[in-house]
Symmetry: C2
Subunit: 194 residues, 2 copies
DNA sequence: GTCTATAGGCAGATAGAC
DNA sequence: GTCTATCTGCCTATAGAC
């Protein structure tokens, strides 16, 4: 294994932008904010991401890829479908613990103000999310390890949306403890449904 | 009954601001946007709401009051707890049909950028929401008309958050049809839970 | 690749006439 | 109560030196 290369300026910018976008939204931070944090000037950021919409698009691409990777890692683990669901919920809980939201959750709230390319990527995130979750649910039900009625995609949608909403609300009202309690109830859609 | 008085300028401003806040967020519109829409100047708006944070606070107060009124109307109807839950979900569905989000849902996403007085009102909205819903759930269970395990407040939280998240996501991905399907599954937390 | 300097626009907010 | 006019500050973005 090669030693980890020290992160490029572009990566540092993405890191800072991601952290801010997940807490104050894409419209909630400026190039100046990031420039101050990294001790560079706004011109430097424009050199790497000529427009803010480009930064946003790259941000979404990296975030979605990483999220998909995390889902793939869950799939590879030799655990039951119910356990995989719990691992899925833990992805959200970890985000909340840092005082953040899901990037695509907060961007969904800003959707109407986003440039077109970013909008498409937000939609794609939810579509890929649902596809992964629906497959997990379908397989789990086939094996008799999960119980629920109806189309797995609908249950997948309900679970993803439930976690997104719980994250959103729990950050302002409830905190991590209540996130857990609510998330457990959300996940029960694929355990106890008739 | 007296005839409805023609709305004051302040009311018209609140109406326009509310519509915009529910679609682009509180930081997504400016005094100039509203001024253009109402064919007045920004100075006029400042006369009625000297700072934007005042407008935001008044907006939240009116919205929360109206939402509470809607909940009270549901409570007064002679329908089963399960039907009341459906009526609750319909409040959200109606908002989506206009392409909007719940005001407090979208403000929860902007929470970190909101002035203090607005933050408190957002939190209060969710607290009052949960209180109403928890009471409905508790009564329904006592009467044997609703089935669920655990603290009614946790189930209430899961349902409110589930609907908020479904609203958020369905606006960008899924639309009204899938909102309904997911909402039904969310509400099942208080019907089929073991 | 990073800087200084700056353009051009839009934001929230205020003073004072009518 | 509404207007015109304006201030100040921040934002995105660019030109050009190093």
């Amino acid at each position: 294994m090669a030693p980890p290369p020290s992160p490029s300026t572009a990566d540092l910018i993405l890191d800072a932008a991601e952290r801010r976008a997940q807490s104050v939204g894409f419209n909630g931070f400026s190039y100046a904010d990031i420039a101050d944090e990294l001790k560079v000037t706004t011109a430097t950021i424009h050199y790497h991401f000529s427009a803010k919409s480009d930064l946003g698009a790259d941000l979404l691409e990296r975030y979605t890829r990483r999220f998909q990777d995390a889902l793939a890692r869950i799939s590879r683990r030799q655990i039951s479908p119910a356990e995989q669901l719990r691992a899925y919920a833990r992805l959200y809980e970890d985000v909340l613990r840092e005082g953040r939201l899901c990037l695509c959750g907060i961007l969904a709230a800003e959707y109407q103000t986003l440039p077109g390319p970013m909008r498409e990527k937000v939609v794609a995130f939810f579509a890929e999310n649902e596809a992964w979750l629906a497959k997990l649910l379908a397989v789990g039900r086939e094996r008799g390890e999960l119980r629920f009625a109806g189309d797995p995609r609908d249950v997948a949608m309900a679970i993803t949306c439930g976690l997104e909403g719980t994250l959103l609300v729990a950050r302002t009202f409830g905190g991590v403890a209540r996130f857990r309690a609510a998330a457990e109830i959300v996940l029960a859609a694929a355990k106890a449904a008739a």
